[in-house]
Amino acid sequence: MGDTSTRERRSEAGDIDMETRLAMYRSIVEIRTFEKRAYDLFLQNLVKGTSHLSLGMEAIAAGFGTAMRADDYTFCTYRGHAHTLARGVPMTPVMAELLGREGGLMAGKGGSMHLTSVEHGVMGSYAIVGAHLPIAVGAAWSAQARGSGQVAVCFFGDGATNIGAFHEALNLGAVWRLPVVFVCENNLYMEYTPIRSVTAVPNPAADRASAYGLEPIIVDGNDPDAVYEVAVRTIDRARSGQGPSLIEAVTYRHGGHSRADPGKYRPAEEIQSWMGRDPVPLYRARLSELGVADATLQDIDVEALRKVDEATEAAKASPPPPVDLVETDVWSDGSSTWRN
């Protein structure tokens, strides 16, 4: 699926400078290390509620995060740790949010499915499949209206391509020529059900592009360079007033859908073959090939682990949120008062 276009992108990606590449490597390694830790903490019963990891899918967040301007907007799903970190949100509050602590990004009120950091352009993680596509369209409309030159990038899963909000958002974004980039992370599965078994076309996003007058774009979602290249191209297009794009980034999650799901519904050979396409070792190897010293890469690995350790300790040390937070911030005056 998408092999041709994938190969094309790879060859073009020769232009990416080394600084950018190292930034992407740092990003995927940080996400990988963070997500593994989140999983460990879940097994230790320290992560409360659910959590949806991006293990194996890091290249998409890293490629886009690196290509975006500081004031661009990210809209993502419950599977949003990666996208949040990729925009430069510090690890400690993200980790603390997973643990339901006062020091969390939303002081524990949102939880792992609702990571938000307006300061970093992370305009929310949305837990209802497809809902954030229209909302991202609205942010793009606002950017257009304000002439701010900002672009909204909206990430969603393959499963979201079959919900009504997808269709409405794509059409409105196209009709109003809005600066929005729709990125479908096609990891071949919804929760436990293969996307191909419930979708009328083989490529759930790309085969829908023409319904909105858009070019079909499929990219290897495990190749940071390929993702970066398509991100730059589509974000430029959006920023220069040429309207939205729809990208299907093909990838695979290493683990289950969420929490302790062992992902047993997936054939062993399939998992095997995708493990061979793990973005972290592959990208590391590419950078080595391109002459990056092993010490440089190792420094990045070590630094990522240090950051994650630090975040873990800080998050664990943070107390539970005070219970009066239950009744704050329904309204802009900070209260939840509904009567006089």
Binding site: G124, P134, G138, A145, N340
Partner: protein, 324 residues
């Protein structure tokens, strides 16, 4: 004071705010070139141009979602839902996204948007275009809810809704669009969360909302002829709710009657009765009474629709029976 219809007062309210604040934008189905299916937004496109006043596709999730995304990023959008019944087609965006996002983000995200929508019966449109749905919105934490009944109020409450930093749903009364009334000259802004005592009385308090308000006033007039002195309160704002005005009135009259256009179960009147029962139980001389549309969808035929929704006669008779 100028005399305006309710529909013209809607346009005047939107225009007043768009004039004042360049971040106010207005979108909806058939609202721009055609001036709205109820002709409540005539002239806005001509005055503010196609960037700020836009016709949309029939995509309620996309347009209300777009309003949300815009509100989060620096605009103050007004979005029209042609009929309040269509809230159901974008209820996830309204109830799960718009209402909850500030809270979930611990106050990071601002949500200054207005949803205006034509609400209620009276047009013989049948069950999918005639509902009174204020209670759907009231039940969702994070939404402010108003239901103006006069041209002055609709202008002033739309203005207040636009200026409010939180999401507000304005339920406009479909059956009142043609009604005329005095609207203050110049800038006019009402306050959210304030009920209006329309008639002072001693024997009982009638709390009504939307098109039930003029009926309650008329019923009170008839009851007065029979020597019954009814206080009439236009609740106006369900969230925030002006419990002070209502409780104060019931403490004086010792009786409460609600008049609701919604079908019975879980209407705003139930909430009001539960507040009154809890907070001024000892002041009550008699059981609080709810007058509502029966718990049925709205029928289409004129004879049936008129029989379903509370009428002046039903209000008078119910009160009479309960006093007797």
């Amino acid at each position: 004071m100028a005399e305006l219809t309710y529909r013209d007062a809607v346009a005047a309210g939107i225009a007043q705010e768009m004039e004042r604040d360049p971040t106010v934008y207005f979108i909806g189905e058939d609202v721009a070139a055609a001036g709205g299916v109820f002709k409540a937004t005539v002239g806005l496109l001509e005055r503010f141009g196609p960037d700020r006043v836009r016709d949309t596709p029939i995509s309620e999730e996309a347009i209300v979602g777009a309003a949300m995304g815009a509100a989060m990023t620096g605009l103050r959008p007004i979005v029209e839902l042609m009929f309040s019944d269509f809230l159901a087609t974008c209820w996830d965006i309204v109830a799960n996204q718009i209402a909850k996002t500030r809270y979930m983000t611990n106050g990071q995200v601002a949500m200054p948007l207005v949803i205006r929508t034509a609400n209620g019966a009276g047009s013989r449109f049948g069950a999918q275009h005639s509902q009174a749905l204020e209670n759907w919105a009231m039940a969702v934490p994070g939404l402010k809810v108003v239901a103006p009944t006069t041209p002055a109020d609709v202008k002033g409450l739309i203005a207040a809704a636009v200026r409010d930093p939180d999401p507000v749903i304005v339920f406009e009364a479909k059956s009142l669009y043609a009604v005329k009334g005095e609207v203050p000259d110049g800038e006019h802004v009402e306050e959210l969360g304030r009920a209006a005592v329309l008639r002072v009385g001693e024997d009982l308090t009638i709390a009504a909302l939307g098109p039930m308000v003029p009926r309650a006033v008329e019923a009170a007039g008839r009851l007065a002829e029979e020597g019954v002195s009814a206080e009439v309160i236009d609740v106006r704002s369900l969230v925030p709710l002006d419990t002070a005005t209502i409780l104060d009135s019931v403490r004086r009259t010792s009786r409460l009657v609600t008049v609701e256009e919604n079908p019975r179960l879980c209407g705003w009147g139930a909430e009001l009765v539960s507040i009154v029962a809890e907070e001024c139980f000892d002041d009550l001389d008699a059981a609080p009474i709810r007058i509502t549309t029966p718990h049925v969808p709205v029928p289409a035929a004129d004879a049936l629709e008129d029989a379903a929704v509370p009428s002046v006669a039903r209000i008078v008779e119910t009160i009479r029976a309960n006093l007797g």
